[in-house]
């Protein structure tokens, strides 16, 4: 209508039609929507297959609607009108709880099933001793020459962790051979709870600007973790598992919520929102149990997450593949992070602008686009055929995937380093700092969130890769978690692929495959959400 009017006005001046512009605009909209809607339909379809929400009793839906959905909408709506910041905090707390719960599952797999707690403990003790020694050495920073100090630190770590066979026992060895050792839950409380307590303590000390408060917070974090072990068996949950969940999920979430409220009083109502959601979910769960309403017959259930492959789709599970993916990601991160960040720092801060660096520049961008199957071939050729390693192990899989994401890590790290304002570097130089001091104290801390975000997104790509794993001969089916770098490994996407292709029955296709896809996507979303939160947080801070 507007066009008509406009054109009648403009008649005396000749006519410019807006139709083409309008059509173009809506075509663009259609193009945008097409991909998103198609993907959304697919995801809903898969999720419906995996979770089957319609198989639940009507009472089940009603109960959760009354206890969870309705209060959430009411409280959320009220907050939305009055205090949006608080609502945001509430959402973050709930999100943090969900994501950290997933991570605590991963940590539990690693620290209970993959690494026996005693082994982990022995290495933790070894590390603590070495770190303590290093801290002591730094106190005499001025008396001891630099090279001697580095050598001494290196020697300290080496002796403490590995020892000298035959002459000098390493600390892990001594701990493992000790006649009396703490039980598993105490070990987990000390190691995981200790790390959490340190982080929480520092965080609270920083926001309260009070070291004593930090200490108290750290101590109570540790006590809470230990409480988990004592309470767990009483309510029928394994003590070790509850310790891990408390240390990795509950305590940090609580600390985050508490810390945010301390710094900004006015956000307190946000906690009400978080409490509504959490309590609503719990009350709903207890209520449906008490009232006897059956939940949906989801294929993505506890049994699916905790059992290994089976000949029948109903009993098949993803557990070894989940553990495999976690170990692969740890290996990939350990390999690609230092290499990628190192390369990025060199290229951005040190490299002269000549033909050689421009050549490297172009090639890194090209490498980022090389298909993953080519990296698989590279892994097969270099690691298996040339170096003679066994096929399909954690180390080879991790190394191949690390090569795959290395260019991406380099590019995103360079991006982050480049975004550090040049003024800051100049200021640092102006104060007499050397280039190394500038990089270490100014550039890296400033660029770190960006680097971390890029790395997490790159890991998200690696966790979904299938082709390189097939190329290096990772097994299609295995029944145990990989426990060492040299054990065979499967991964979530590979397991889903094996189910969809090797097990031709309709059962696997409609049950195990969607369930696997949902788990894979949930993990991916959790990883990406961390990256996004990190990015937003640091973007708003600077």
């Amino acid at each position: 209508m507007a066009t008509e009017q406009d054109s009648s006005y403009a008649q005396g001046f000749g006519q410019v039609s807006r139709t083409a512009g309008l059509i173009f605009r809506y075509l663009l909209l259609a193009a945008t929507m097409f991909g998103i809607v198609t993907l959304a339909v697919l995801l809903v379809y898969v999720a419906n297959d995996a979770i089957q929400p319609l198989t639940a009793d009507a009472g089940w839906h009603l109960t959760f609607f009354l206890t969870l959905v309705l209060p959430t909408i009411l409280v959320g709506g009220a907050l939305y009108r009055r205090n949006r910041e608080a609502l945001k905090l509430g959402g973050m707390v709930v999100g943090a709880l969900l994501v950290s719960l997933m991570f605590s599952g991963g940590v539990a797999i690693v620290f209970i099933d993959i690494i026996p707690p005693l082994t982990g403990f022995s290495y933790a003790v070894g590390l603590v001793v070495a770190v303590a020694g290093t801290v002591l050495l730094t106190k005499y920073e001025r008396q001891i020459p630099f090279t001697a100090r580095v050598a001494a630190t290196g020697l300290l770590f080496f002796l403490s962790l590995f020892g000298v066979p035959g002459y000098f026992h390493s600390i892990p060895e001594l701990v493992q051979k000790a006649p009396v050792v703490p039980t598993d839950w105490i070990i987990l409380t000390l190691v995981l709870g200790g790390v959490t307590a340190l982080v929480v303590g520092q965080y609270i000390a920083r926001v309260r600007e009070d070291n004593k408060a930090g200490l108290a917070a750290g101590a109570s974090a540790l006590v809470l973790t230990a409480l988990g072990a004592i309470v767990g068996p009483l309510v029928g949950i394994d003590a070790n598992a509850l310790v891990v969940v408390t240390a990795v999920s509950f305590v940090p979430t609580a600390a985050y919520a508490g810390g945010s409220v301390i710094t900004r009083e006015e956000l307190k109502p946000g906690l009400v929102f978080a409490a509504t959601v959490i309590v609503g979910a719990l009350v709903g769960a207890v209520a449906v149990d008490a009232l006897g309403f059956a939940g949906p017959q989801a294929w993505t259930d506890w049994q699916f997450l905790t059992s290994s492959h089976s000949g029948s789709a109903e009993n098949a599970g993803l557990y070894p593949a989940i553990g495999g993916s976690i170990l692969l990601m740890v290996t990939v991160a350990a390999l690609s992070f230092p290499l990628g960040v190192g390369a990025a720092v060199y290229l951005e801060e040190y490299a002269p602008d000549n033909r050689f660096t421009r050549f490297i520049d172009v090639n890194i961008s090209n490498l980022a686009g090389v298909p993953s199957v080519v990296y698989g071939l590279l892994g097969l050729g270099v690691f298996v055929t040339y170096l003679g390693q066994a096929t399909g192990t954690v180390l080879i899989g991790g190394a191949t995937l690390a090569l795959l994401i290395l260019p991406i890590v380099i590019i995103s790290s360079r991006e982050a380093i480049r975004s550090v304002p040049n003024d800051m570097r100049q200021a640092s130089y102006g104060m007499g700092a050397t280039r190394w001091q500038t990089v270490r104290n100014v550039v890296l801390p400033e660029a770190f969130p960006g680097i971390l975000t890029g790395t997490i997104l790159a890991l998200g790509r690696a966790i979904g890769e299938t082709a390189p794993l097939i190329m290096i001969g990772a097994p299609n089916v295995l029944f145990n978690l990989p426990t060492e770098l040299s054990s065979k490994v499967s991964a979530m996407p590979l397991q889903v692929y094996a189910w969809s292709s090797l097990f031709a029955s309709e059962d696997f296709y409609t049950k195990a495959v969607p369930a696997g896809v949902v788990v894979l996507l949930a993990v991916l979303l959790a990883m990406n959400s961390i990256a996004i939160v990190l990015r937003n947080k640091y973007e708003s801070e600077t």
């Binding site: 026996p116 307590a197 101590a219 006590v223 000949g311 096929t391 299609n476 295995l478 029944f479 145990n480």
Partner: protein
């Protein structure tokens, strides 16, 4: 400043730790009896082979079996090996069984003969050149028959023009590299003038090799190569499902999981049309496409207790109708055959040790 907090906190941590340990007293601590178990996990650097051998023979018989068993090879035998592995794993939780589907030939050439795997599944006997490759790497395969399969030719459910079934001659015409008919009417003038869409396993597959041997003939022109080749049997089924004028072939087990999706073709070898089924394969009526399936353990690997035990377990259950026929869809071994295989296996194990 942060370092300072660290310091205090870790000291505090130790205080609390010792306090907690004191509170729980002896209840919180256990006698360290895990030395023997945790040691091998620790000591394991790169060589997985050396630690495997020791752990089994140390104490007791079957309870302490541990180590890796790597299996590759035929996609036809893969479901059977998986079913056996799943059951074996329930009894010996410390044994890691890793299964891969690579095709019989792919498994021999890339995994088994280079010494990467302990077992290679095959849907045809090992070839001379493969034996040579194995011998060059000091790998001695031990041939064990595990089941009988009815290699199944499938067509689309809507296909009614082929009538009762196909003769061996017609199959040969369709699949051989000689002639390569593009239209169904080229095979039989009464059939529609539509393009034949052919799906089948790749040349890494034992199913492919066996099909050549049984239908086209070893000395013949060979298998035509202008077809959709895949190592994933599901893709073959989907391909045939998708087109009325498609044809393909695969192991019976995959067909038996998808009897609604596609129809099996009865094959006439001169004595009338015979449907592929467990019964006709067992009775020997389904010729020439019923075939033996094998697994080849490496003799060197049989020296390891957990590998030998798994091979024995497989052979002992090879007559099980429940696993082999009902769950997987192949014909189990007879008692005599089983005894023969067990004897062969046991003497190989003895030689290996």
């Amino acid at each position: 400043m942060t370092r300072k907090t660290d310091d205090i906190l870790s000291r505090r941590k130790f205080l609390i730790a010792s306090g907690a340990a004191g509170l729980t007293g002896l209840a919180g601590c256990t006698e360290n009896n895990s030395n023997s178990e945790s040691e091998p996990t620790e000591a394991s650097g790169g060589s997985g082979g050396s630690e495997d051998s020791g752990s089994g023979s140390g104490s007791g018989e079957s309870a302490t079996l541990s180590g890796d068993i790597n299996i590759a090879g035929s996609s036809t035998v893969f479901p059977l090996a998986t079913a056996m592995g799943e059951r074996f794993k329930k009894e010996h939780s410390e044994v890691n069984i890793n299964l891969q589907s690579t095709g019989s030939g792919g498994g021999f050439a890339n995994y088994f003969c280079p010494g990467q795997t302990d077992f290679n599944n095959a849907s045809r006997p090992i070839k001379g050149e493969e034996e040579q490759q194995c011998a060059d790497n000091d790998v001695t395969p031990v041939e064990l028959k595990v089941a009988t399969d009815a290699l199944t030719v499938i067509v689309n459910n809507d296909n009614d023009f082929i009538g009762e079934g196909l003769t061996v001659e017609q199959l040969k015409t369709i699949f051989s590299a000689e002639g390569k008919p593009t239209m169904w009417s080229d095979v039989n003038s009464e059939w529609p003038e539509e393009e034949i869409e052919i799906f089948g396993p790749t040349d890494a597959s034992g199913t492919y090799d066996y099909f050549i041997e049984a239908i086209i003939g070893e000395e013949g022109p060979g298998h035509r190569q202008d077809y959709s080749a895949t190592e994933q049997d599901r893709t073959i089924i989907q391909g045939v499902m998708g087109s009325e004028f498609a044809i393909g072939y695969m192991g019976f087990a995959y067909y038996s999981e998808n009897t609604d999706a596609v129809q099996a073709v009865a094959v006439d070898n001169g004595d009338g049309y015979v449907e592929p089924s467990l019964d006709t394969a067992l009775s020997g009526d389904y010729t020439p496409l019923s075939r033996p399936l094998f697994t080849y353990p490496a003799k060197g690997s049989l020296a390891k207790d957990h590998v030998a035990e798994f091979a024995r377990y497989w052979m002992e259950n090879s007559t099980s109708k429940k696993i082999v026929a009902d769950e997987v869809g192949y014909v189990p071994l007879g008692e005599d055959e089983q005894q023969e295989m067990l004897d062969k296996l046991n003497s190989a194990i003895e030689e290996a040790n």
